[in-house]
């Protein structure tokens, strides 16, 4: 049996601190976090240093563990959508989508075209807003504060759109099992068009600040490189994997929500260092604008219509129907008191979130509440590649590395 060398394995904090406490003295063990300016949330790193060079680093996670998976077992399927918003809090709509697709596979529900296209449009806007936060905080960590202010300017416009459709800027819970929560408002399409028209020029602006900036290049080129074989070993997905040259994007390779009908490219890079991950994400923002534009065109051509499935056992009937249809009243009653009950079995739905492959695995025991929900969180898994990328780098590069991996601690710890 061929086994990979265990010295490549992901260290745990104790595997670094225990030998140090036992008297191994040639390296210095430093604690970074959980409260630190640059750790993107409450991430603790135990760093073993030889002078300024990182010999080994072990992430210590769990400071934001919320028990979301267990908590979802005590809520009905529709109520549990609210909990999924709060895992990857930079892309709540992506989490909603992954969970909702899994439940829809469990129930065997077909979603009509209009809500599916609306889902694609909103998820791509969510991707842009998530990448803007990544860009802003990455630049802020490397002391380019203007980019933070510029990025949040566009993000406010996107959040205004989310507030327009759902009432909440961030934790929208807008995707429900069966379609959308409410219908799209009348000024949704013009507002989205206005945003999509200015977005490419804004992305050009960010690129003009950073891409050919000599300081940015010196800090990111050649730093933290990982090759594609190691990336697949460590389970790295998303822009990190595409920066190593593997053209794997779930939207293209295992499409969902009709992505096979949209025309877009998957940007990849060669070296797998921080600069390449930056380039891949910037190119992804442009691709998202293009997909969103196509979805916008389809929504405009379709005109007004339904926003959820007509299967009344899953999605509630409109209030106007309840007053004169006994069946609708009974469906409403059953949905609100008990919730729908999927058949026994399990299902997995994987989507391409801004951080990588986000999969939700649900086990149903035939009751109205999920028996087990597990979220395969990309940030949690991507974090395992950090020690490999950080070996031999300087301490300051570690900050840039974490930013380029783009972990969201809510997703890491759930």
């Amino acid at each position: 049996m061929t086994f990979i060398d265990h010295s490549l394995s992901v260290p745990s904090p104790h595997s670094i601190t225990d030998p140090a406490l036992a008297g191994k003295t040639n390296t210095m063990v430093l604690n970074m976090g959980p409260h630190h300016p640059s750790t993107h949330g409450v991430l603790r790193l135990v760093v073993e240093l030889d002078g300024e060079t990182v010999v080994n680093v072990a992430p210590d996670v769990g400071f934001l563990h919320t028990g979301i998976e267990k908590n979802m077992e005590f809520k009905t399927y529709q109520q549990a959508v609210v909990m999924t918003d709060r895992t990857d809090y930079l892309a709540p709509l992506s989490n909603n989508l992954s969970y909702v697709l899994a439940v829809e596979k469990l129930m065997g529900v077909e979603i009509p075209e209009r809500p599916t296209v609306a889902r694609v449009l909103l998820v791509e806007l969510q991707r842009i807003s998530s990448h803007l936060v990544w860009l802003s905080s990455h630049a802020l960590d490397l002391a380019a504060m203007s980019v933070f202010l510029y990025g949040f300017r566009e993000r406010e416009q996107i959040l205004d759109i989310f507030e327009m459709v759902s009432g909440a800027r961030m934790m929208t819970s807008y995707f429900r099992v069966g379609g959308l929560a409410y219908d799209l408002p009348s000024d949704f399409l013009p507002t989205v068009k206005a945003l999509l028209d200015i977005m490419p020029s804004r992305i050009d602006e960010y690129e003009s600040l950073l891409t050919n900036n000599i300081i940015w290049q010196e800090r990111t080129m050649g730093v933290g490189a990982i090759d594609s074989a190691a990336a697949i070993q460590y389970g790295l997905t998303g822009p990190g994997l595409r920066a190593t040259g593997v053209a794997w994007d779930l939207r293209k390779d295992m499409p969902y929500c009709g992505y096979e009908t949209y025309d877009f490219n998957v940007p990849i890079a060669k070296n797998g260092d921080i600069y390449d991950r930056y380039l891949v994400r910037m190119a992804e923002m442009r691709e998202s604008v293009s997909i969103a534009r196509q979805a916008w065109q389809r929504l405009t051509d379709m005109g007004p219509g339904v926003f959820q499935t007509s299967n009344r056992k899953v999605a509630p009937p409109p209030k106007s129907e309840i007053t004169h249809s006994m069946e609708s009243l009974i469906h409403h009653f059953k949905l609100w008191t008990e919730g729908f009950k999927p058949p026994r079995g399990d299902a997995l739905a994987a989507i391409e979130s801004p951080r990588g492959e986000l999969a939700t695995y649900i086990v149903s025991d035939g009751g109205p509440k999920p028996y087990r929900v597990h979220m395969r969180a990309p940030s949690f898994i991507n974090l395992q590649s950090l020690p490999h990328m950080a070996k031999g780098q300087l301490m300051a590069d570690l900050v840039a590395l974490i930013a380029s991996l783009d972990p969201v601690l809510g997703e890491v710890d759930r």
């Binding site: 959980p34 400071f63 934001l64 028990g67 809090y89 949040f152 959040l159 800027r169 961030m170 809510g410």
Partner: protein, 168 residues
């Protein structure tokens, strides 16, 4: 009446020491760079240019607790994180204030389970609770302004804080 005409000429204003000190404390309150979860992103949004926090003197977040006056607990506090928060709070020098931002910091929020401390007031005493999940940047600014009005009411009699918390 008499004193204002005299003061206007000479450029001298009289006030009480308390007012002066409290004015200084409110107008340049430096928050500790402390974001835990989703509320931290709204806090960052509040610091961005749309809802500018630097008009309250808060554009710099101090990373070291010894240099910060205010800790905005933005996000859910897990059991593993609670001792860390207590340690940071103890390291801050007086006078210090606490804003519990969001539902999770105020009362545990959506997460009523084994892993989340049901309100950061079980760990550190709180001055202002800002409700919301996450609270809009405007709600956070309202909380900050309420905190400022609370600080302006503080007395210089040895007790450093006005105790009763404010719910926004």
């Amino acid at each position: 009446m008499g004193i204002e005409t005299k003061a206007g000429d000479m450029g001298v204003v009289t006030t009480s020491l308390e007012t002066m000190v409290n004015w200084g404390r409110t107008n340049a309150m430096w928050p500790l760079l402390f974001g835990l979860a989703c509320c931290a992103i709204e806090m960052m949004g509040a610091q961005g240019s749309n809802y500018d926090l630097s008009r309250f003197g808060m554009e710099i977040n101090r990373a070291s607790p010894r240099q910060a006056d205010l800790i905005i607990v933005a996000g859910r506090v897990s059991r593993k994180m609670a001792p860390v928060i207590r340690r940071l709070y103890d390291q801050m020098s007086n006078p210090k204030w606490v804003i519990a931002m969001g539902d999770c910091a105020s009362c545990g929020g959506v997460f009523n389970n084994y892993a989340i401390v049901q309100g950061v007031d079980e760990v550190i005493p709180v001055d202002v609770y800002v409700a919301g999940c996450p609270p809009r940047p405007e709600a956070l600014i309202d909380g900050i302004m309420q905190l400022h009005s609370k600080v302006e009411r503080m007395k210089l009699d040895g007790s450093l804080r006005e105790r009763a918390p404010i719910h926004v």
